[in-house]
């Protein structure tokens, strides 16, 4: 019964993965074996590394804000003070049903001063010299952060909310009887109990950040923010605009390696801090 899956896996997952590694060792000019030539080119490629660096900054800012917001919203929805929990949970989850491309088109238009008169209000009041244009090269990274946060905060909140409903009620009742406020219950009891879920969504977000593609491509279509904004865009250009498949394969392998190193490093770093020593020993 596992055969159909394994056959497809071999042909459309493992095959391309291995081919990617083989291809990355070949010369772009002759097609013959070239050792680590392409990897040397990747290491010396300033554009590629500036894309990686941009994503590192993006991840540090956007992932923190998004996860913080998701935790805040999930805690509110899980607190006894919240009214209309179901409606809010549904609204926040809606962007999951919107393709990234469509989200980028909507926001791209909304962030264009020509299409959104609200962006000209500060200049009409004399506060700025011209309309605010968030899609300027300088601000485009923050525009993408705004869009990605819109797309995925509710998704992460939904995962956290499911996890929160599994927190044992006795623990919460006991804390309440001891006179703990809702805030300290959220911070001291609920948050520690869902920390593994938090870790899980942070790791998913890191992987997603390094693969960013749709949003910068669409914003470039709408406002020319540049076509080499993220590592994935650079890989796409290398393969399909310049036809250098061998170098693109090497770039893909390096990006996959960066992803694996970044997530395992984060995991190792946080595991020691988040989990108390006694629990670590118990797990081991």
């Amino acid at each position: 019964m596992t055969v159909p899956f394994l056959a497809l896996f071999a042909l459309f997952f493992a095959g391309p993965l291995i081919y990617s590694i083989v291809l990355s060792l070949r010369s772009p000019l002759t097609g013959g074996f070239a050792g680590l030539l392409n990897y040397r080119t990747v290491i010396g490629n300033a554009e590629f590394w500036s894309g990686v660096q941009r994503m590192a900054y993006f991840g540090a800012v956007q992932v923190s804000v998004m996860i913080g917001l998701a935790i805040l919203l999930a805690m509110f929805l899980d607190s006894p003070y919240c009214k209309g929990k179901r409606v809010f949970a549904l609204i926040y989850f809606l962007p999951y049903a919107v393709p990234g491309v469509i989200a980028a088109i909507m926001w791209g238009f909304l962030l264009e001063p020509d299409l959104n008169g609200a962006l000209s209000i500060p200049s009409k009041l004399g506060l700025t010299s011209g309309p605010i244009s968030p899609l300027d090269y300088r601000l485009a990274l923050y525009a993408i952060m705004l869009i990605v946060t819109w797309e995925f905060t509710g998704y992460n909140m939904t995962i956290l909310l499911t996890s929160l409903t599994n927190v044992p009620r006795q623990a919460l009742e006991a804390a309440k009887i001891d006179g703990a406020s809702e805030l300290s219950i959220a911070w001291r009891i609920k948050l520690p109990l869902i920390r593994r879920t938090v870790l899980f969504i942070v790791i998913l977000s890191i992987i997603g950040t390094l693969q960013l593609f749709n949003e910068p491509v669409i914003l470039n279509d709408i406002a020319s923010i540049g076509s080499s904004y993220t590592p994935n865009q650079i890989i796409y250009n290398t393969a399909f605009s310049f036809g250098n498949e061998q170098l693109a394969a090497a770039q893909s392998v390096v990006l996959a390696a960066i992803t694996i190193v970044a997530t395992t490093a984060f995991f190792g770093l946080v595991r020691r801090r988040v989990m108390p020593r006694s629990e670590n020993r118990a797990v081991a």
């Binding site: 009214k83 989850f93 962007p95 819109w150 390094l210 393969a239």
Partner: protein
Amino acid sequence: MATAAASHRVGLRYPVIARRFKITAGTAVLVIAALYVLAPIYWLVIASSKSATSLFNSATFLPAKHIVWGANLHSLFTYGGGDFKWWLLNSFVYAIVTATLATAVSTMCGYGLAKYRFKMRGAVFGLIVGSLMIPATALVVPLFLLEHAVGLTNTYEGVILPLLVYPFGVYFMSIYCADAVPDVLMDSSRIDGAGEGRILTKIARPLLMPGMVTMFLLSFIGTWNNYFLPLVLLGSQNRFPLTVGLSAWASDLNQPGAGQPLYPEVIIGSLISVLPMLILFPFLQKYVARGLSFGAVAGE
């Protein structure tokens, strides 16, 4: 925790006022977040009813004076020889076929892993969990080259086949099967003379239905929303899904000499491509949410 202590003290003295304040403050945060989510969707609905000139001249968030949904829809479906209707149809074909087959393949594999002990079982599990770590985009370039070599690029199969490999779906279904189908039931069916295939299709399948619905929806939404893979694998307009087609139109917005910019068409086309899912979402939400939360909650 100064704030917690303070609010606690206030709570003791003025319980009603403090409670009401907290409800108001909490609700305010929730409403602001809801506006952030709904504003662009609301704008899309409003903007889709405006003509090209009114998009640039009227108040952004106010309804149009002259609603031109009819004209915009007509233009959407007739522009460029009516490409849009093919994109819409293609998106449905890709999503329905992929989700149906991916659900079948993943359910079989998950069921096999959960209910049978065989030699390579551990290795297969390791493979599936390990592949969750590989960013899918690392595969797109070699996938294009391999498919190109065998003539699969620019075909429906070429897009659908790679999307059938859904390791998370297998992982999800294997855990779902382990819980949903009791071994005792399988044993008693065997005693009654049912073959293994019959046990899966007749006995286990009804029990697995809710999990399969979740799996179908995750795959459907993932395929409907996919952009990178079809963008790379498809060359001709009449194979495009909505995401690739609309982005092709959007890329002409900024090109001088590309003809009249298609603002109204891109906007109403975007609305059409999110509308079916947004309408169905309230009914599907719980199935989707269960699937997404699965990896995380299983680890708790």
